[in-house]
Each structure stands twice: as structure tokens, then as C-alpha cells.
């Protein structure tokens, strides 16, 4: 089933990516927390990149949380009407209409933790020492987000907005109906050509 999901494209992926509406898709079941490694590769890649980009505001924007043998990458889901933008008192967090990402102006952030309080994904981290709330910016000025580049397990994937939405629905349908779900993949393939 997963093989099939990978091969299917609802819209032309390249066109979708060109529109700059890029999302990072999670496949939590594939994440193993970089077993046996000293660092989690996505976390390390993010930290290095953030240091170059933001200087002082250099904490990793991605976080791997674990329970038993289950791992889950925690990062920004880039909500359309983001609760963190609503809650931000200084107006540091805003939605960039051009690339569709929810971004942060760290110079304005005062550390009131309103966004930490409202983020339903727990994707915003309080950095108490330097007094700012760090959140993923989707590496909008990079070709591929650094965490995606670093992940060798395929738990993170760069994807255009239409495909993101489609794959999400497929994942949920899969979960609900499991093996009973049969999709005529060829039909979609023919349509897209």
C-alpha cells in the first residue's frame, strides 16, 4: 500500500512545488529516532542551519518525542488560520501571503509564551535562556528543508500543498478502512497525464 501511495500523484508535483506552497509531510511510523546515533540527524541539521540563518536564535525547530519504541517528529504544521498568530501579543508571528508559511520576527518576540499555550501540536518551543519562542519556518528560502534532506528513513518528505492534502486524506482513509480500501491508481495516473 505504501509503495502505491508514493507513486501516485494527484497533480503534477513539479508544478505544485514551483508555486512555493511547500509543506513538510510526516510519516511518524517510519521514524526510529535515529537509533544508535549520538544525534538525531534532522535535529542536528536544523540546528546547524538555524545558526547560519538566525545567529542568536539557533535552537532546532524540529523535535523528536518518544514513548516506548514509538517516535514522533514534532514540527510546525503551518496552519492556515494559525492560533499562534492570533495569540502573538507583539505581532512577531505573521503569515507570509507570498509563500504561505507562518513565520516569526524574532526581534519582536518578548517571550510571553502565548503561542506555546495555544499551539495544538506543541510545535513551539520555549527557549527560556534567550527569551524567545522558536518555531519552524519551513526553510522557505532553501530548495529542500534541511531536516528532510537529513532524514534517511523517509519519515519527512517535502511536498506541494495539493499533494500534501491528498496524501493526508489517503493516510486517514487507509487507517480507517485499512486493507479493504482499494483505489484504482491507474485511473489517477491517466488523468494527470
Amino acid at each position: 500500500m505504501e509503495k502505491n501511495m508514493k507513486s501516485i500523484k494527484l497533480t503534477n508535483l513539479e508544478d505544485d512545488l514551483k508555486k512555493n506552497q511547500i509543506e513538510i509531510m510526516l510519516y511518524p511510523s517510519k521514524c526510529d529516532g535515529c537509533e544508535g546515533q549520538e544525534y538525531k540527524s534532522c535535529v542536528q541539521a536544523c540546528e546547524t542551519h538555524m545558526k547560519e540563518k538566525y545567529g542568536k536564535y539557533n535552537t532546532a525547530r524540529i523535535n523528536i518525542k518518544s514513548k516506548g519504541n514509538k517516535f514522533f517528529p514534532i514540527l510546525c504544521h503551518n496552519c492556515e488560520e494559525a492560533p499562534c498568530v492570533d495569540a502573538c501579543m507583539p505581532g512577531a508571528r505573521y503569515r507570509d501571503n507570498e509563500n504561505g508559511w507562518t513565520l516569526t520576527n524574532y526581534k519582536k518576540c518578548v517571550g510571553c509564551w502565548m503561542c506555546v499555550m495555544v499551539c495544538p501540536f506543541g510545535a513551539i518551543e520555549r527557549v527560556g535562556k534567550d527569551h524567545y519562542a522558536s518555531k519552524c519556518d519551513g526553510c522557505i528560502d532553501e530548495e529542500t528543508p534541511k531536516c528532510v534532506e537529513a532524514c534517511k528513513k523517509g519519515a519527512l518528505k517535502k511536498i506541494g500543498i495539493k499533494n500534501y492534502s491528498y496524501e493526508r486524506r489517503l493516510m486517514i482513509a487507509n487507517k480507517l478502512y485499512g486493507p479493504h480500501l482499494k483505489i484504482n491508481y491507474n485511473r489517477y495516473k491517466n488523468n494527470s497525464r
Partner: protein
Amino acid sequence: MRYVIIGNSYAGLSCADAIRRFDKTGEITIISDESYKAYARPLISYYLEGKTTDETIWYKDDDYYEKNNYKTLFGKRVVSVNTSDKKVVLDDNESIEYDKLFIGPGGVPFVPPIEGFNAESPMMGTFTKFDDAKKMERGAKLAKHKEAIVIGGGLIGLKASEGLRALDMHVTIAELLPRVLGLALDEISGGITAKKLNENGIDTATNDTVTKINVDEAGNPTSVTMKSGRELVADIVIVAIGVRPNVGFLEGSGITIDRGIVVDKTMMTNIKDVYAGGDAIVSYDILNKKPNIIAIVPLACEQGRVAGTNMAGVYREYYGGMGLNSVEIYGLPIITIGLTNPNNPSQTVFIHQEDESVYRKLVYDGQVLVGAILLGDVAGAGILSAIIRQGEKCLKYKDEFLKGNIYSFVIDNEFEVYNINEGYAIRGDFEDLPQFSRSNWR
């Protein structure tokens, strides 16, 4: 279409943005009684501390109003609203006609009758506006004994004290309740907070209040007399008891007011084409299940957006909100969500405490989480507020939550993102999946 927006802050601007999203050409006029462009009001204490400056306190970009084509009328107060002629009357007798009106006047500080209080004095006042902060900055330089009294130990009071302390004043908070942040915190967390304040040069006089302000011949304070009989030296006195909806100017307009402005699901008042939002309205409280005034930033933005969308002709409903608050006191983060001081016998409380640094409290109503206090470690607080908002059954996770493993709920259930354009939610047990809609994600 002529849209008029009273109030140039969170609710008003979020309303203007929502209108502009659907109506690119309509004329939008924003009226404010302050002469500044929109600034981050809750941040005035950070301004005194130097954490935000004259450059960074502004809420939006410099070209925000021009870029979105908003007309502005700053420094003009609305004296009345004539809903039959669809006119707003300003203090210079000018009247502005509207097709759709949004009222987001926010709150005004409530000052109880205290003998000797005079807001005109440069050393006395309230603490809600940028001008108040600038006044205190000047006042602190004139102070002889470097002693300040803050009446009220709520959020504004605490923030005002922190600001004054940063101006090198010794501050005493007079609070009538037995603890600071009395409505949001409980005894233990209030105690930890008070200790943190005391360590940093802010005294807390709880179960006590100021009965009289003694003034010199110029009208400036010299000392205060407390209810307990003590007399404290005071150069500066700030009254921070709380705020009330700023609805005085709506008298005679026909708009229903019950403490605050009464609105329906679409944020419309009882009068057609007149909408309201923000700290001045009574809106649905999903935890207490009744209309309530909840004066917090995230709800103001959401209410403004719902109102603006409806004003532009696109139907949208407001789901309701709940009380949330987040504050940091000298490096100690405190987040309170929902009902934190239960008085209902069906509600049970679970507490976890690690010394003076970490404190967690969960309030359950049966299986459902209805309130939480997180102090010291706030990671994952948003997940708890989402759970509380959705009314998830999660009693079996109480030990994990108390230990701080809030993410374990997420890992067990996994996030289910529905269509990204239609909002999202955390999935709980499949049988009691709540209704998903655009507006109920928070």
C-alpha cells in the same frame, strides 16, 4: 461598501484584515482615540524593562495601513453611535457614515473610589496604555524614595510591578485576595509566584488593600494607609484592579449591553450591520457553558475575524472561547488554562510538585479535562489547551500529564490532520470523535 471600525487593536485589525480578504475594494476606516498606530498593548511593561523598544512595540509593519488601503482616524474619540441613521459621531462633532460597523473598544481600567486618588497627578494612574507607561517612566525619575505601590495583584498589576521594578523602584503589591493572580492560580502556585516576586524586590501584601492615599500639596502621593493599619511610603501609586468593557459611548444607540456588548454567533449585536468583538463583548464560554467576558488576545483576534468575515458577506460562526493565560515572572513561566479553581464536587484535582521550580495541576470533570496550571515547565501546554477545548476524555493520561509527558497523548493517538484547508484536530477515541469544523480547532 463603507466599513467603519472603532478600535485600532487586536480585534479591530483582525476584523479589517478579514474584510480585506474578501472585499478588496470596500472603504475601510479605522478610528482610535489614541494617536499612535497599533501597538502591542500588553507589552507596555516590557517597554519599561527594555525588552521591547520604540521600534519593536508596533503591532504591524510600518506600511500596513497603506498597503491594505485602510483609512485611519487616530486621536479621535467616538462620542456616540447613531444606529438609525448609520452614523458614528466623533468628539470634534464630525460624523462618519457607515454601511457596516465594527465595535472593538476594548476595556477601560476600573478605579474604585479610593480617597486621594487623582489620575491627573504625574505619579498616580492606571496601567493599560502606552501613555501610562511613558508617564511612569517619567514619574520614576522624579521619585524621591524609590517606593511604588501597585493596587491589585492580577496580571496587569504584576506586569506593572515588574515594569516599575525595572525602573529601580521598590514595589509593594496590595491584593485583597489571599494570593497574587488570585483568580487563575491556587494556593501553592500563588505562593511560588509570590516568593519569586519577593526575591526580586517586589513585596506582596495579600489579604490587604489601600484605603487612603496621603497626598502632598501638589497632589502627589507621599504614603498610603493600608486596611491593616500599616502606612507605607509611596512615590508612585498604580491602580490595577482590572478592566471593564468600554461601552459608555454606546448609551442611547439601542445596542443591548449586559456588562459587555451582547452578540450572537456571527458576532452581530442586536442591531443589524453592527458587529462587535474583543474585550468589550460578552461571548460564549465553552467551559462554563454560558456567556462571559473573556478579555484575552487570541479570542479578540478570532472574534474580529469572524465579525469581519460576516461583514464582508461570507457567513461564519464563532465557536466560543475559554480563559487562558500565560505570563512569565522573572524567568518563571506560568500558564493557566480553563477552570483552575474548581468549586463543583464532580471535579477532581491532581497535583504534581517538584520543589519550587515545577508545579502542575490538572482539573478533571469526570473523564474530561477542564483546566490546568503549568508552572516552571510549559512544554506542550498547547496540547493540553487543545484537549480541554475539544473536551477529550483523557483521564487515563493523568499520570503522564502530571509527569510532564504531555506529548505521550499525541504519540499514542497520532495527529490526524484532516483537509489542511478545513482545520485540524487531535483524534481521541474513535467513538467520541468531536464535530470538526473550520473554527473549533482551538
